[in-house]
Symmetry: C2
Subunit: 467 residues, 2 copies
């Protein structure tokens, strides 16, 4: 696509929405922000300029049109703790890599599973499955744990970001990790921050969801999804290296060559264990995942595993910081300016008078695909879960079924974009997967996942007696 | 000083304060934060680690002790518009330098005034004096305008930061620019953002300050200060290059060599003119200085004067961003947790029963030197001006005199530290002046300034009939 068109399309679409009168019940500022947000998102995808530039332009327009007040609103995204979790996690990943521990774990992985690329993919998915129930921050999992391993495996097998070797291995593993992370997030009440929010919203309407009932309902479609999606990716987005007959031996030799763990590796491992414990037990002892990451970064800086220069040199971290915070800000004010409420309320009219199965399917699809307009799972669940649950129940859907399915959507609707969840921001930041592939694979996986959860799920939930 | 002592002192002092029981009327969280803030400041000055690391450690402790909640409080500094003004201004300065316009203006300066270093110093002071009344953001002045000129002049005459040539020229000019900026800020109601705040606080007590009455009162001590301080710096912190007999010819030749302005320079000049107009008329058309800088950065990125990589590479900007935002956050919550109010209230007891001249001098000195604990002029004026004005008037000081002097302090109290005003953050960030020199010169200038404004001022204000 020529550069002028990449500039023209977002400006045109944004301008079009902007000049349409705001629908009744929506603040003018909310409508204008919607136009700017849509234009920014299109710009972020078409990339006439790097994402950071597009986001800054979006913010410039929002401020210039007095849609957002720079002193009170326009910069608020920069102080959200999730933004800093992502940023800290980039620094921690650097510590893994720099200390050598990242390569060591990666070689260990390759030694065990490295004969086939698909095996490595499943290794990553299983790792997610094991740590998932214990770590409610899916971005801590994706960024703090999987990202350095992923990068280590790929680089050790000759697949680096930015030098044309991405598709050998790294791009496939990144996608498996990303989608696996979200599937696991949907499987356990404690695998994603927004799940307990959904639980609480449901409880307000008298619907009781326990850890076990969530798990029971999610386990069967979840496991099938976790088995099929890596396979799907393997065929539609194949790694160039499929079979690596000598990789395990190579890894073994490399591990031998590395010798005993160095002091820096031990420090890194200790710091990691410390963060892991806090990420697992954080909820119980009231420690935020971002605090744990901040302490981890502090320990790495104090012990010299990381130098301050390393932090300042982590350009990818600063890049993500700039653009993602702006999207977070816009999404937040879309909600504050009443656009989300207006939208949720109007969905009710749409499904009036339909049989509950039809209306519920429509509601779920709208809930699901409206995530193109969100930059966070928790924000989306917080803004729309409750209203959609109410409409679903009012139109006759069995309450527990509605509560659970909408709950699962809270993770699964993030498959589509590179900004829909903080885990996607980190993994997209690896640079292994270009944006067009990210979005088209995301759409495909989202549809396959809807089919799996819809078909297998409904049989399973019928069997469980949920409907 | 050995490394262990640099670590021990802040930890010891902070720990000492921490374990003292909070005084009556101060929230425990406020007192604990005070201890952490003091330790962080000492650490920032002694620098056992780079400032960014010290600040992150301070934040880590604040979060670990539950003094600040990371999700709601600990990161708020990162979304303040002043932090982003500083950050954007670093990018704009890069545009000046990269486009070549910075060197051109610098050569022009040198051609005019370059025969003597002192002349260059006064050239900088006079430039501040000319643009000061029109630009109420002293950090926009220091960072967006003077910083690139300063750097251009110094580098063109062989004085660079970080390679041992700082003291040839750059360190002296930086100090002149810094102190000149603050003196000019004190001279005009419209030269610093906190001045109109002081005016408003005074008006609440029925004291009318106009642009003209402020200027009349400040002009005489201000001009004397602006003449003497560069001279003082010239003797106590002399540049190695004092006389530059061939510099004007060299500059002339260089300008000839540069030829006509390039397209990039014109773009930069146009962007600069655009920002300058917004900085001047911003108040009247309701445009924040940060918005103007954001638009400036956007134009530079769109036009290609800056590449996105340049922004990500601007390490000094990110470094300042990290540490200064943490100090801003801590200072903000010192106020919110009631420590500042408690302090202001207790000052009243201290001066009870003294003749008004004595008590007012004590009050002014306390108001002035308490700025060691503030990371912003507006925060300090906002937190303490009103209370100190009330106590001063209650102890018999002529109201207008008290209002004006406390008003002038609102700029002058920032001479001491490298974090006391956003302009100092930018100028310290040039790297020309080490922290020990910054602090000792700051203390010296602050005392000389108090003498100038105190002695010359009181005669002049008597003559004007203010007391």
């Amino acid at each position: 696509m020529p550069q002028w068109l990449k500039i023209f399309i977002p400006v045109f679409v944004g301008g079009l929405i902007y000049q349409v009168p705001a629908p009744a019940g929506v603040m003018l500022r909310g409508w204008n922000l919607f136009a700017i947000f849509v234009a920014t998102i299109i710009g972020v995808v078409l990339k006439p300029f790097p994402m950071g530039v597009v986001a800054l332009l979006g913010l410039s327009v929002a401020v210039a049109t007095k849609t957002l007040d720079i002193a009170k609103e326009g910069l608020t995204g920069y102080s959200t703790h999730i933004i800093w979790l992502i940023t800290y996690v980039f620094f921690i990943a650097r510590g893994f890599i720099k200390s050598g521990l990242g390569s060591r774990i990666a070689y260990f992985f390759v030694k065990l599973l490295g004969r086939r690329t698909l095996g490595l993919g499943y290794g990553i998915a299983v790792t997610e499955l094991i740590i998932g129930p214990a770590i409610p921050s899916n971005s801590a999992r994706a960024g703090g744990i999987m990202f350095p391993i992923l990068k280590g495996i790929s680089e050790s097998l000759g697949s680096k970001a930015g030098d044309g070797t991405e598709k050998r291995l790294g791009s496939f593993l990144t996608q498996v990790c990303f989608h696996g992370n979200l599937i696991v997030s949907a499987m356990f009440l404690t695998a994603m921050a927004a799940n307990p929010m959904a639980q609480a919203f449901a409880a307000k309407r008298g619907i009781e969801i326990t850890w076990l009932s969530w798990f029971q309902a999610a386990f069967v479609p979840g496991i099938i999804s976790l088995i099929l999606i890596p396979l799907l990716l393997y065929f539609v987005y194949p790694p160039e290296l499929k079979s690596l007959p000598h990789a395990p031996e190579m890894a073994k030799a490399k591990l031998k060559e590395m010798g005993a763990m160095t002091k820096q590796e031990w420090t890194m491992a200790g710091t990691f264990a410390f963060m892991l414990i806090l990420w697992i037990f954080g909820d119980r002892i009231d420690v935020n995942a971002t605090s744990a990451a901040l302490w981890g970064v502090s320990i790495l800086l104090l012990s010299g595993v990381l130098k301050w220069e390393d932090v300042l040199n982590e350009k990818e971290a600063w890049h993500n910081f700039v653009w993602f915070a702006i999207l977070i800000t816009m999404a937040k004010y879309l909600e504050e300016f009443g656009l989300v409420t207006w939208f949720s309320n109007h969905v009710g009219y749409l499904v009036q008078g339909l049989p509950w199965i039809h209306s519920f399917i429509i509601l779920v699809l709208i809930y699901f695909y409206s995530h193109y307009f969100f930059a966070s799972n928790t924000a989306h669940v917080g803004a729309m879960y409750s209203a959609f649950l109410a409409v679903s129940i009012a139109s006759g859907t069995p309450p527990l079924l509605a509560a659970l399915i909408l709950g699962f959507c809270g993770s699964l609707f993030s498959h589509m974009t590179h900004y829909g969840s903080s885990s996607s921001v980190v993994l997209y930041g690896t640079g292994y997967v270009p944006i067009t592939a990210w979005w088209s694979l995301g759409l495909l996986v989202s549809m396959v996942n809807i089919l799996i959860w819809g078909i297998v799920g409904s049989v399973w939930w019928k069997y469980l007696g949920i409907w």
